[in-house]
């Protein structure tokens, strides 16, 4: 692997994204909404702090997922913990997906649309390094953005809910696993998927349909959890991550195997 080339391609793609105002503002906007806006809003809702314990009705099963220390909290506090710590956390996975979709658009499809792809194919790097450059260019910023957003979310959540919960409590183990284990897996899924697709499709729009499909998966997770159909316990999350990484490996290898200058050139 020629890391200098991989790094140069990644850096170039990011420089191009940086010049794209719409891309930058959508990333910043969505990030601010997820990491600051929503937790702030929920934390500031006037939940009653009532007596300890109490039945959560249909959501009572979820109380079992919470750390022991939280299980006795008043209903209002438990609802806040469940919402911020459990229901909304999977939405985080939208961040890596969004970033890979936007950076991926600058990848092969973007280069083809702007007619710079041919020039890129004349660099000495062999096909595998060229492919790796594009994958790294997409994955690294997505993972960084996830980490940053998660940190910001943690700070906001703790600040707004500490009075209610009685101290700093986030991240919960499941949220941490979600961000640190599933997040990168999803980032890789988005990247390998979008590079794979973007070497075969003609336009930006088609490339983004795939990421659209992947976000449905996440929405399904959020809804599933909210309705109690899917319980994102630690073992479930760990297993889920293993499955996504397995799919990642298949997609990355498939992409590498299918990636060829000749094929890209013949379609150019």
């Amino acid at each position: 692997m020629n890391w200098r080339t991989v790094r140069a391609i990644a850096k170039k793609d990011l420089l191009e994204v940086r010049q794209n105002r719409i891309a930058i503002w959508s990333i910043l906007g969505v990030s601010a909404l997820f990491s600051v806006g929503i937790p702030l809003l929920i934390g500031l809702l006037p939940f009653d702090t009532g007596p300890s314990g109490g039945d959560l009705g249909p959501l009572e099963a979820l109380t079992a997922l919470m750390p022991a220390a939280h299980q006795d909290l008043p209903i209002g506090a438990r609802i806040v913990v469940l919402m911020l710590g459990y229901f909304l956390a999977p939405l985080f996975l939208m961040i890596p997906l969004m970033v890979t979709a936007i950076v991926g658009a600058e990848s092969f499809v973007g280069e083809r649309e702007r007619r710079t792809l041919e020039g890129l194919l004349y660099i000495p790097a062999d096909d595998l390094d060229l492919y790796a450059g594009k994958v790294v260019a997409g994955a690294v910023p997505a993972i960084l953005a996830t980490a940053l957003n998660f940190s910001a979310y943690a700070v906001v959540v703790n600040l707004v809910s500490a009075p209610l919960v009685g101290g700093f409590w986030f991240p919960t183990p499941t949220a941490l696993v979600l961000a640190a284990w599933i997040g990168p897996a999803i980032a890789l899924l988005g990247v390998s998927g979008s590079v794979l697709v973007s070497t075969r499709v003609e336009t930006f729009l088609e490339a983004n349909q795939l990421t659209g499909m992947l976000s449905m998966l996440i929405v399904a997770m959020v809804v599933g959890q909210g309705t109690g159909l899917l319980v994102l316990s630690l073992p479930v999350l760990l297993l889920f991550g293993i499955v996504i990484y397995a799919v990642d490996i298949v997609l990355v290898r498939l992409g590498a195997a299918l990636f060829s200058r000749d094929r890209l050139m013949a379609r150019a």
Binding site: N2, R4, T5, R7, A8, I9, K11, K12, L15, E16, Q19, N20, R114, R115, T116, L117, E118, G119, L120, L121, Y122, I123, P124, A125, D126, R261, D262, M265, A266
Partner: protein, 310 residues
């Protein structure tokens, strides 16, 4: 010395289309070699094959002794390519474009800054080096694209229509650059539709037609091979008299093509008969001031070839 580029029976098909169809030729080191041919003749495809970004369906090629199919990275490391559509990153500055190229072409790290600055200066881009390239004129973009193709000091340079769409001044700048590049001893393959450009810049030309090499040689060789010897014009101080014309017509191997004012145009394939014609013209009182055979232009050669193959 071994050839810089050696092509042997090279072919590439796209489905039913034979874009390049059994082409063979060699380019010597330091030579400026022109590739001519109508739209769709296969010039761009040939360059792509030589740089190893397309794979041949038949035949083989050697570039600097390397096989582009199996040793693509090594070939590209030593070749620069100016693509038909100047592929500069419009959102990046000229400096960032060159910097990117220097990185991916593995220019030694301590040299990158100097190399980039040198090219910006040499190509007249220094003053606007840090503006996004999107705002540059076509000529400036083209100069940047050529600078980028040179960033790793390549031994072979492929230029695909380097003056397409440029105004005469910008074209002239590109021509001057090609001259400089030739003086630096690099081998250049130049695709162009501009016959005057090929004539001025190229040592030899190859003419492609429907993927095949229809002709190969210097412009003069091609003219001699493909066209009847061009006429010789004898020019007199005043319109020549009847006697002069009759005397010239009488020389063996000479026929009169036309008499126009002060000149007589004769067809005389052999130089021997021209000497004869000049002698009798002077002997019969013609006050001859000039005699010369016009060289064939590449344009005549080109059209003769197109007539041949279409």
């Amino acid at each position: 010395m071994t050839a810089a580029i050696a092509v042997d029976g090279l072919a590439r098909a796209f489905g039913p289309v034979q874009a390049v169809d059994g082409v063979s030729f060699q380019v010597e080191p330091g030579e400026v070699f022109g590739l001519l041919g109508p739209n769709g003749a296969g010039k761009t495809t040939l360059i792509r094959l030589l740089a190893g970004v397309l794979l041949p369906t038949a035949g083989s090629a050697r570039v600097l002794g390397l096989d582009p199919t199996r040793e693509g990275p090594a070939v590209r490391q030593r070749c620069g390519v100016l693509t038909e559509m100047p592929a500069v990153y419009e959102r990046l500055s000229a400096r960032q474009n060159l910097w990117f190229a220097a990185e991916v072409f593995d220019v030694p790290v301590p040299e990158v800054t100097r190399r980039v600055d040198h090219l910006l200066g040499e190509f007249g881009l220094g003053e606007r080096a840090d503006e996004p390239v999107g705002g540059f004129s076509k000529g400036m973009k083209q100069r940047l694209a050529i600078a980028r193709a040179l960033v790793h000091n390549p031994e072979v340079l492929f230029l695909d229509e380097p003056t397409a769409g440029l105004d005469p001044v910008a074209s002239r700048q590109v021509h001057d650059l090609v001259d400089t590049i030739r003086e630096e001893g690099r081998t250049v393959v130049l695709c162009t539709h501009r016959l005057v450009e090929a004539e001025a810049l190229c040592d030899r030309v190859g003419v492609l037609s429907r993927g095949r090499l229809a002709a190969l040689g210097t412009v003069r060789e091609l003219g001699e091979r493909l066209l009847a010897a061009s006429p010789v014009t004898l020019t007199f101080l005043e319109p020549p008299g009847e006697a002069v014309v009759r005397a010239i017509a009488g020389v063996r191997g000479v026929s009169i093509e036309g008499v126009l004012g002060r000149s007589i145009e004769i067809a005389a394939p052999e130089d021997e008969s021209i000497a004869g014609a000049i002698q009798v013209a002077v002997a019969t009182g013609g006050r001859l001031i000039a005699a010369g055979r016009r060289e064939h232009t590449l344009e005549e050669v080109y059209f003769a070839l197109q007539g041949d193959v279409t």
